[in-house]
Amino acid sequence: MIKPIQSVNDFVIKFANVNGTGSASANNLFAKAVFNMGVPVSPRNIFPSNIQGLPTWYEVRVNQDGYLGRRGGGVDIVVAMNPQSLADDVAAVLPGGYFIYDSTNPLPESLRRDDIQIIGIPFTELCRQQFSNTKQRMLFKNIAYIGALAALLDIDFEVFTQLLSKQFKGKEHLVTSNTTALELGYVYAKKTFECPIGIRMEKSDAVGDKILVDGNTASGLGCVYGGATVCGWYPITPSTSVVESYSRFCERMRIDPASGKKRFGIVQMEDELAAIGVVIGASWNGARAFTATSGPGVSLMSEFLGLAYFAEIPVVLINVQRGGPSTGMPTRTQQSDLLACAYASHGDTKHVLTFPANPKECFEFSAESFDLAERLQTPLIIMSDLELGMNDWLCDPLEWKDDSQFDRGKVLHEEQLENLKDGERFGRYLDVDDDGICYRTYPGAHPEKGAFFTRGTSRDRHALYTEEGAHYVDNMERLVKKHRTAAKLIPAPIINIDDKRHKMAVVYYGTTDNVMAESLAKLEKQGLKFNSMRLRSYPFSDEVAEFIEGHERLFVVEQNRDGQMRTLLIDELECDPSRLVSVLHYDGMAIPVEAVVGGIINNLSAEQNRKTGEAS
């Protein structure tokens, strides 16, 4: 008999449900409870590309040390509420772990395991007795298992009741019925089993002033703070909630108090081509505008992205990446659109990308992206992903400096145009400041001066159509210069020099951040030490180049098949590919710690073997 797992504030629990049965809010309640006990928590929704009736899981990691990435491997506790997936769910429990199931129907003998603790609670039956209405029976079954967990894991019942009163403020009957359901599970567990089990929770202060929010909510909010007034979009998982969040916050914060009218315009367009068309039209006309999409939408936007690049129109595009290629895995996560975005559209194009790693950065990068896109007059693509966008993350509270201002970039308004001296002639594509960025004017600015024709065809510095090779090259070279300017303005990498003498480093970006501290700690335990760099944007700055130059071997950790960031690094920095080693994970689930640790160790030991082999 294997010893049951013992731990305090450190476990992974997985809820197995059927989608469309209302489990989401119950599971969410559990995560919130952990959070409210002051213990770091990271819940993950694993849902099918379907609306109702298929298996869906909610995996929650609870970790006192704040390690919140996916651990990988099995889980400590399963709450199995879905008969369809029972076999898989039993199999997911680690030896010594706990399997909680709805014992209204008996567990098939074949599924029994000796090496785990099996805890049966007749949730369905309990609710059948308690509630008369079918819908209530279905919904409260979920709340009941949360109640049971309160007992089994020793979660303060108070925490739940507080959460419920907060959630259902003003709807007291809901508070009551939910509490009843909670108690149903709680009491049953308490009286039937020895509580708590080996795994339990204790109040802590490891959460501090942190918040629990998903990336898409933060991105949408960032667009409000960044001053976006126009949004054209088309629904697609997992980006839809960015616009939903923007819309919700706008309805609250952007209503003109005098007239009750809206200081924003959101239009659901007929497809993604039209969505980015709206952004381009609005930006050209001097409004801050954005759209959000995912893989297939990015592909459809590529012609327009080329136009924006060449005609130099600001675009803010939030790409919440999912599993590709094609329709791929719409409800899974990946970082596989880097090349498609960096090189989007035919011809020589290079686009600016940023890589947020947590909701706070979603907020900040979204807000700042309008400054950057307008400053650079080019598309800026924020590369989020499903893991970040659609899951709640524990992160630092959002901040805003009230003395901020929008940087609208280089624009000549009526007055400046009026004051142009004789002989001074406005030229849309004149590189006045030698940074590759030119001055633009908004339509309607001045009756006589500053009008020009925007186009995707070659033109001279005064925006006049030309097929003259020299003008074309002049312009294309300036765009390269602008790309270099961009590298100086966009978010700097987060570099951690553990020790200057380390020859090895890890390079990563986006949601991989979530597993990095833990992975490095694990590696360190095995005597392997690394400096590290989290990339936050493309093109790469000198700082990035120096870091790469400064190490002999760099492990580039990515969530895609082809090592796309590594390709960008080599292409842009001209570094020797043999120094950059890919560590990849791309099965659609967020990268787990074991993939990083395993990937690096395997590479090093393979190397070791090679060397030994050579020597022998």
Binding site: F264, L273, A274, W400
Partner: protein, 351 residues
Amino acid sequence: MTCVPKSKFHHPQLPVNELGLTYRDYEGSMSTLCAGCGHDSVGAAVVQACFELSLPAHRVAKLSGIGCSSKAPTYFLGKSHGFNSVHGRMPSVATGANLANRELIYLGMSGDGDSASIGLGQFAHVVRRKLNMTYIVANNGAYGLTKGQPSATADRGSLMKGGKEVTDEGIDLVSLALSMGATYVARSFSGDKEELVPLIKGALSHKGFAFIDVMSPCVTFNNHQGSTKSYDYLRDHMESLISADFIPHKSEITVQSEPGEAQDIFMHDGSVMRLRAADESYDPCSRSSAFAAIEAHREKGEVLTGLLYLESGASHLHENLNTVDKALNGLGYKELCPGDEVLKELNESFR
């Protein structure tokens, strides 16, 4: 905006409009279209309409896609900003532009390939969203710029240059615009300035989506016998049903038209479209009347022209969205950024 266009020194004999500007002031750069191309006449009609309306040209934004017709905006209203976007996607760019600043006048110029072939989806959707703009298609039934292939408006059974017969059903943009909810729908002929100029004036003054399908022959690739978009064919088969006069707001409307004789429709700015139907039973304010007439003439092989439908006072996109009256692109940091206090509250709600 405080600035108005300044009248410049000009030849004393050129007539000037209310802004003191001449026709010349509304022109653009020299056309590079083929000599005789219908699109240049459409451009000239736009110039004349804007001149006569005394529009401040810089308050007009010109938008187009790709094609000879979409190049045309370069050749008129040189003081307006223009945007030659990508093929078939002008409607979405216009939607964004309009959202950003409701105070300008939006003039879209497109071709039949641009709007009925690659752009059919965007065209239909911009209509159903009722964007406040004027949308002109210079319709020649062919792709001029790529040398003469049939477009989706080429009529079934007509012949392309080289003699090939068109077998796909031709799309009638006017019917499509009507069924998608356009509130000002007209058709005309580039060769008929008399008819076209007032229609453009009315469209520019209309609040809502105004569509004008202008038959605009391509002299180089679709002006032969067998084409239903040639100058000859059009001259022979045009049926002007509803002639329209545009009477500007400021001019005193002295003679109120007699019922039956003409119908006066007031525009939002107080100007008037005075319509005269050749057929008395025709009601230019009824969508079904318009459908029926178009269909009937089409079956006879005739091309019905004039102001076919006008709905005054309908709501447009900004109204449907209930956006503020001020241009969104003019809102400042204070009006847009909720600030740190609000964020603090939000943080609390995320706990």
